[in-house]
């Protein structure tokens, strides 16, 4: 296990669920940025490759106290004992020094251990060749290779946008990136600015401040994988679903 070295950068995301209206702009921006294909029928969500997936949570209360909340789910980029990295037999996935968990298609042998290991279902196996119906190969982004059949793909926090920002900084004779110089495609697209993205190690950054908020939580925190994606919600029932506490566990805790 590689620990992140003491670099100055550690990227993370904070998603404010009180501001998220489930419009799907983040998801569409992600697919457009990262060369994701679509199939004619995508209603089987187990086979639908959606790096940024929208979950619709319901509080299950009777009418008219029912509420739904949308939860966008990118890769959590777990900081501690990254589950997928620790099981990959061919080092096709690794966490780099700035905290981004990568996926290298040309190394991937498609064994799908990482998918079994990931507690968040963020990884998708390409069962088919990605098909771009005639004409649509034109909009493919040259900064990102298209994942071929037989490999696993996942959200990379738009690592290529980091490279682009870094290149620009070097050209301007700078070493460090300024706040929001590098943001993911989903962060940029969000019409309600519910997503914040930045350097968790910079105490002045927006994400570093937001993650300290009393309404912040992470998904399945009890696993100890230290996800770098934080969520904010003022509603208890949303936070409870985030940790996915089983009914028996609540009873055990209470007793």
């Amino acid at each position: 296990m590689k620990k992140s070295s003491g670099g100055k950068e550690l990227y993370g995301m904070v998603i404010d669920l009180d501001k998220c209206i489930g419009c799907g702009a983040c998801a569409v921006a992600c697919m457009a940025e990262n060369n994701l294909a679509f199939r004619y029928d995508e209603t089987d969500k187990l086979k639908s490759a959606t790096w940024m997936r929208l979950y619709r949570l319901s509080n299950g209360q009777p009418y008219p106290r029912t509420r739904v909340v949308y939860l966008p789910r990118p890769c959590m980029h777990c900081q501690h004992h990254t589950p997928c990295v620790s099981v990959c037999p061919v080092t096709a996935t690794q966490m780099d020094e700035k905290g981004i968990v990568s996926q290298i298609y040309s190394r991937c042998i498609g064994c799908r251990y990482c998918m079994a290991a990931c507690p968040y279902h963020v990884r998708y196996f390409n069962w088919w060749d990605p098909v771009f119906p005639k004409g649509l190969e034109n909009y493919l982004n040259p900064d990102i290779s298209v994942a071929m059949r037989g490999v696993v793909s996942k959200c990379t926090f738009c690592n290529h946008r980091y490279q682009r920002a870094k290149d620009r900084a070097y050209m301007e004779d700078r070493r460090d990136l300024k706040e929001s110089e590098y943001i993911t495609a989903c962060t940029e697209a969000c019409p309600t600015k519910a997503i914040a993205f930045g350097n968790l190690k910079d105490p002045q950054s927006q994400v570093a401040k937001l993650k300290k908020s009393p309404k912040a939580f992470r998904l399945l925190e009890k696993l100890g994988s230290e996800p770098k994606v934080y969520y904010l919600s003022t509603q208890d029932w949303v936070r409870r679903q985030g940790d996915n506490v089983l009914k028996e566990e609540v009873a055990r805790k209470a007793s």
């Binding site: 489930g22 998801a27 209603t43 319901s58 060749d129 119906p133 649509l136």
Partner: protein, 762 residues
């Protein structure tokens, strides 16, 4: 026969050699290699550049940046961070915009002429010259016969110079029948004309509103301009705000908006207008209204009070709306005591008309609260006054044609305030009253899919020639006689006047990112060519050599106004806005083309000269169509979704991909229903059913949802196309044709929403 060692070896070697001579080992090796080493498409690389433009997919007019590779391949659409409306964000539709440009299967590539019977899909590609010639011959003939008024045009183009061109063409040619399909702004203008005595659009200063009372608008699911509402929603949820904003949603379903709202008021479907008057009654009776403004600007308060006291007391309102009396009183108190409150209307995304009664009832709340032309409230915006067209001189034929009554009956003595009634056009064309239609132009509309299929199909039998401007072979284009392919908004010059619902003037200029991919033209270019072919006065009406000059003329108007600035830098902070100065028009034009958007934050709103008259409002709810509750015991309520387009545009594949399992499973539509209601009909999760109304039936699967009002079934709007690519074609069902509609006696519009249905298990 004995096989010795020698025979065996001969057989083995011969077999091996034989196998090598067949293609079998090579093909299987090749296949194995392909299976293990299949790579995606090789992407063309090159320098990246960004180009500013304006999105034309909805009337929102958001600023966009297009990422280009080698200046010839568009790879991404992003929001323009300097644009005052979307500020870098963008709705999912805009982000998926390139799928409209590049998806070959959906696009029409050359002009097409019908061979064989209508609707059978036998198309013959023809040249533009031939297509224009065929239209010109017909147009000339009709003019010679003194029948120019029998030409009609239904224009679904968003407000801008291009729709002005089309309207001007019809006028110069001599037909009064330039008709636009329903848009919420149409109803807004009628409301302001009746109540304020001035025709204006209703725009909302949502980011500054502090109490938002939404009567069923799918505010967070695509109502109005999604980016503008998104900006506002973000402001409302800002913790640093002094006064926290409160969003109250009145709706029968736990929709996105109802769930995200601070308060959800579950109402009986179709009684929103009655609730509004109930609130007005409490406000007037208890004196909870803006007395200064109401006294200074309005008349007819006494009459309103008497009427409300008679019919809309809290007890009466509670009975009709099924909302507790206490809630009604509390809503009235909260609304009137809030700082900067606003009430808004337009069910769903506002794609279907509501009754004038309902719109007026809700608008009265804004007047009572003093929210007209005030920060955080409603601004009345009279059109886009910066652009002047050259004077139009008509010839005798045109004058005679224009003197004829309009085919749709709009602006007639019966419906003097209504500007357009597209449904009536088709109905009257079918009956050939007051006169038949000889040539019908359809520009970017799909009446066969949307409300109006029945009327359109009947009318089609009586119209000898239908010309369709469209980018896609949709249900309507498929029935036309001649199709003129329209360039995508990334391939043409275009512009937008104002952003829908935004309370300050904005002009957006769209320029071609590259020449059209196929043999297409914008509808404006086609109109200029047709005018030239017709010659004489019609040609004189269009003194433009090239289509750019139309937009240059608009830009000249902006330059001469000496107002506004461009999106060439970050947005000015509050109170630091100043108009930009340009040395010459050429510099201004150059910058406008580069930046894409002009805006003027110094808002001028219109209040009219006279007094605002309450007595002009219609306070009688239109009677619903009588129907047997026994036969059709449930309410069908159409549901608008952000990820599902329900108008002319097909849903892009990226959006369809994200539709949840509560919308579509495989090829079947999913409808939401309360578990109790389902149980009473012995239905369970996933039951296949048929939903039947008096007008027709659709197939669906049942999804149980606690948040659905008992006795109602919620049906998503937008699936069920019979055209387009396999992500859309024959998937789901289209609820438009089974909706019940009632003609609103005040506006003549067909009001369709909640419909009585029954559910049958299949």
């Amino acid at each position: 026969m004995a096989i010795d060692r020698r025979d065996f070896l001969k057989f083995a070697v011969g077999g091996a050699v034989g196998t090598m001579l067949t293609p079998l080992p090579w093909v299987s090796m090749d296949e194995a290699a392909k299976w293990t080493q299949r790579w995606g498409p090789v992407l063309q690389r090159g320098g990246t550049s960004f180009l500013n433009s304006v999105c034309r997919l909805c009337p929102g007019g958001c600023g966009i940046r297009i990422r280009l590779i080698e200046q010839k391949r568009a790879v991404k659409i992003e929001g323009n961070p300097n644009h005052p409306v979307n500020r870098g964000g963008l709705c999912p539709l805009g982000l998926a915009g390139l799928q409209y440009l590049y998806y070959e299967e959906n696009r029409i590539k050359t002009p097409l002429k019908r061979d064989g019977a209508r609707g059978f899909g036998d198309w013959r590609p023809i040249t533009w010259e031939e297509a224009l010639y065929q239209i010109t011959v017909r147009l000339k003939e009709l003019r010679e016969k003194d029948l120019p008024h029998t030409v009609a045009l239904v224009d679904g183009e968003k407000p801008g110079s291009q729709s002005q061109l089309l309207a001007r063409f019809l006028k110069a040619y001599g037909s009064p029948n330039y008709i636009r399909p329903f848009q919420l702004s149409e109803l807004e203008e009628i409301v302001t004309q009746t109540l304020h005595g001035v025709r204006a659009g209703i725009t909302l200063d949502l980011p500054r509103s502090r109490y938002i009372l939404s009567f069923g608008a799918a505010l967070l699911d695509g109502w109005g301009n999604p980016s503008w509402v998104g900006q506002a929603f973000q402001e409302w949820r800002q913790e640093s705000q002094k006064a926290k904003a409160r969003l109250v949603q009145i709706e029968p379903l736990a929709s996105t908006t109802a769930s995200m709202a601070d308060e959800w008021v579950a109402i009986r479907p179709g009684t929103e207008g009655i609730l509004a008057l109930g609130l007005a009654q409490v406000m007037i009776e208890k004196g909870w209204f803006h007395k200064e403004l109401v006294q200074a600007r309005t008349i007819g308060l006494e009459g309103l009070r008497d009427l409300l006291n008679k019919n809309y007391t809290p007890d009466q309102t509670a009975k009709t709306t099924e909302i507790p009396k206490e809630t009604i009183e509390k809503l009235a108190q909260d609304f009137s005591s809030a700082e900067q409150p606003v009430a808004l209307w337009g069910k769903g995304k506002g794609e279907l008309p509501i009754s004038l009664f309902e719109a007026q009832a809700i608008h009265i709340l804004n007047i009572l609260a003093g929210s007209i032309n005030r920060p955080g409230g409603v601004y009345l915006q009279p059109g886009f006054p910066y652009i002047s067209w050259p004077k139009l001189s008509l010839d005798k034929t045109a004058e005679k044609g224009l003197a004829q009554p309009r085919l749709d009956g709009a602006m007639s003595p019966k419906y003097p305030k209504t500007g357009n009634l597209a449904c009536n056009l088709f109905e009257n064309a079918a009956r050939k009253t007051p006169y038949p239609v000889n040539l019908l132009f359809l520009n970017e509309v799909n009446p066969v899919f949307c409300l109006g299929e029945r009327h359109f199909l009947r009318a089609l039998e009586k119209i000898p020639f239908v010309v369709c401007f469209s980018s896609f072979m949709d249900e309507t284009a498929n029935l036309a006689d001649l199709i003129l392919p329209v360039s995508n908004f990334l391939e043409r010059w275009d512009d937008s006047y104002n952003c829908q619902g935004v309370p300050f003037p904005i002009y957006g200029l769209t320029k071609p990112v590259f020449p059209p991919l196929y043999d297409t033209k914008s509808s404006g270019e086609t109109i200029l060519a047709l005018a030239k072919n017709l010659g004489e006065k019609v040609e004189e009406a269009f003194p433009f050599e090239k289509i750019e000059e139309v937009f240059k003329q608009a830009a000249r108007g902006l330059f001469n106004s000496k107002k506004g600035r461009l999106t060439d830098g970050p947005l000015p902070e509050a109170g630091k806005y100043a108009p930009a100065h340009f040395e010459s028009f050429d510099k201004f034009w150059e910058q406008l083309v580069a930046q894409g958007t002009w805006y003027d934050l110094e808002n001028k709103s219109e209040g009219g000269k006279g007094k605002w008259d309450f007595s002009a409002a219609t306070l009688q709810a239109p009677a619903p169509r009588p129907q047997s509750l026994k036969e059709y015991p449930l309410w069908l309520i159409p549901q608008s979704l952000m990820l599902l387009q329900s108008g002319y545009l097909p849903n892009p594949p990226f959006l369809t991909k994200y539709l949840g399992e509560e919308v579509l499973i495989k090829n079947t539509l999913v409808v939401q229903i309360h578990p109790e209601t389902a149980r009473s009909l012995s239905l369970s999760e996933g039951s296949p059913v048929e939903i039947q109304s008096a007008n027709g039936r659709i197939k669906a699967l049942i999804h149980l949802f606690e948040g659905a009002r008992p006795g109602c079934v919620f049906v998503p709007l937008g699936m069920g196309h019979k055209a387009f690519d396999p992500t859309l074609k024959d998937r789901g069902a289209n609820p438009y044709p089974i909706l019940d509609s009632v003609v609103d006696p005040q506006t003549g519009m067909e009001v369709a929403w909640a419909t009585r249905v029954k559910i049958v298990k299949v």
